[in-house]
């Protein structure tokens, strides 16, 4: 790439870091006095024929992926979904106590789990059925998967911090989440 003067580099950096298209005035507010138009023209030319282009929309400028590369991306972004509190707690209980039945999980959490919670964890590929327990009713037990370990960067379940470690890390301080939790979580509608 051809060397750039620092003013043009600054315009380039500001456009890149901006979270919305920028007008010439707002660019100038960041980079100070200078030939903003000239810098934009230079950048637009530099980036023509690259994987990303500098484009003008109305009076604002921004970088965008080259049109012919769109098939590699998807326009409406696949949003990363965060696990609900109920799901993360359920996952933690399964990881620490596996194999566990649903009743075990409910006993430890002190709240019923809704049907969708385990579905989400299985959908994510982190939890799997792990056989039935040989007691009356033969309830299904659950355990974690290889991809659970991979996702959380664990070699084995033994790498999970124990209760003493959690206490030392300040993670056992009671937090008033219990009530919140009860209010948020809907009662189980059965399956």
């Amino acid at each position: 790439m051809n060397p750039l003067d620092d003013f043009t580099r600054a315009v380039e950096a500001v456009l890149f870091a901006a979270d919305e298209p920028l007008s010439i005035d707002s660019l100038r507010a960041h980079v100070g006095e200078g030939d903003v138009r000239g810098a934009l023209a230079r950048l637009a030319e530099d980036y023509s024929g690259r994987g990303i282009n500098l484009v003008r929309r109305g009076d604002r400028w921004h970088f965008q992926t080259a049109g012919d590369m769109a098939h590699l991306l998807r326009r409406n972004r696949d949003e990363v979904r965060r696990l609900s509190r109920a799901a993360i707690e359920t996952l933690a209980i399964i990881a620490y106590h596996e194999p566990v039945t649903r009743a075990d999980i409910e006993a430890i959490r002190g709240v019923q789990i809704s049907k969708g919670t385990l579905d989400v964890l299985m959908d994510a590929g982190w939890v799997r059925p792990a056989g039935r327990r040989e007691v009356p009713g033969r309830p299904l037990t659950y355990g974690t998967t290889q991809s659970f370990l991979a996702h959380f960067g664990l070699e084995s379940r033994r790498d999970l911090p124990g209760i003493e470690d959690l206490k030392a890390a300040g993670l056992l301080d009671p937090i008033d989440l219990a009530l919140e939790e009860l209010a948020v979580e809907k009662p189980d509608e059965g399956d």
Partner: protein, 241 residues
């Protein structure tokens, strides 16, 4: 006295080692060349000053002071070859610890001074985002996981209530006792005489209450008779005539 340099800012220290390191730095030499004796002296003066100013020193500062005082005398006295480890080794150990803490403190400062992502350098502000290969992309990190477990445990771990072992006499025991003793009582006897010998305090009160209930029960069964002259008067028991 070399005390004029000392500023007694105890709030700032993170423990005796931290204080020692700061004193050592005041010697303005490489930690390898540090004079441990001078350092020990400075620390002891510091702690002594804090004491005369009646500043409250955490116990570990005093423990360190005691240890350093020992080290000082060991370094000054003629060497006793039977004492292991030698005072020189102890001094060396202290110097090595200071060097290590100092190295990490500097490393931390250099780390913090780097161009940090989100403060000095930035990723693209509005990335288009990529198609996910996986159907759903659930996000959770190891910290979410273990802190969730911490919270579940904190919330549901049984709280232990310790009930002091209170001595009581149960109603069953009182019935058995009164029933057994009433046969030997020829005449009216005050209820207090049915209590176990030596009963005192709360146990006596418990035994009295249970024996009273036992007497009522046994009277109902026709196994004894009760007599009382008036409210709050002594209560007498005897076997049925």
């Amino acid at each position: 006295m070399s005390g004029e340099q000392l500023t007694l800012d105890l709030e700032g220290w993170e423990g005796p080692l931290d204080l020692l390191l700061n004193l050592a730095r005041a010697q303005k030499v490489d930690l390898k060349q540090i004079s441990i004796l001078a350092l020990v002296e400075q620390y002891l003066v510091y702690v002594e000053q804090a004491r005369t100013l009646k500043l409250e020193l955490a116990a570990d500062y005093l423990v360190m002071a005691a240890w350093l005082a020992y080290l000082k005398s060991a370094l000054l006295l003629p060497r006793d070859p039977a004492v292991e480890p030698s005072p020189e080794e102890l001094a060396l150990r202290l110097q090595l610890r200071l060097e290590r803490l100092s190295a990490m403190r500097e490393a931390g400062a250099r780390l913090m001074a780097r161009d940090r992502l989100g403060r000095d350098v930035f990723r693209r502000g509005a990335p288009e985002g990529l198609r996910r290969v996986r159907k759903a992309n659930w996000s959770a990190g190891i910290f979410d996981l273990i802190s969730a477990y911490g919270q579940v445990s904190a919330r549901t771990r049984p709280v232990m209530h310790v009930v002091h072992d209170r001595e009581v006499m149960t109603l069953e025991a009182a019935i058995a006792r009164v029933a057994a003793l009433i046969g030997t009582a020829i005449d009216w006897a005050a209820i207090q005489s049915f209590l176990p010998e030596g009963a005192a305090g709360s146990f006596r009160r418990s035994a009295l209450a249970s024996s009273f209930l036992a007497a009522l029960e046994l009277a109902r069964q026709g196994k004894l008779e009760l007599q009382q002259r008036g409210p709050f008067e002594p209560l007498y028991l005897r076997a049925p005539a």
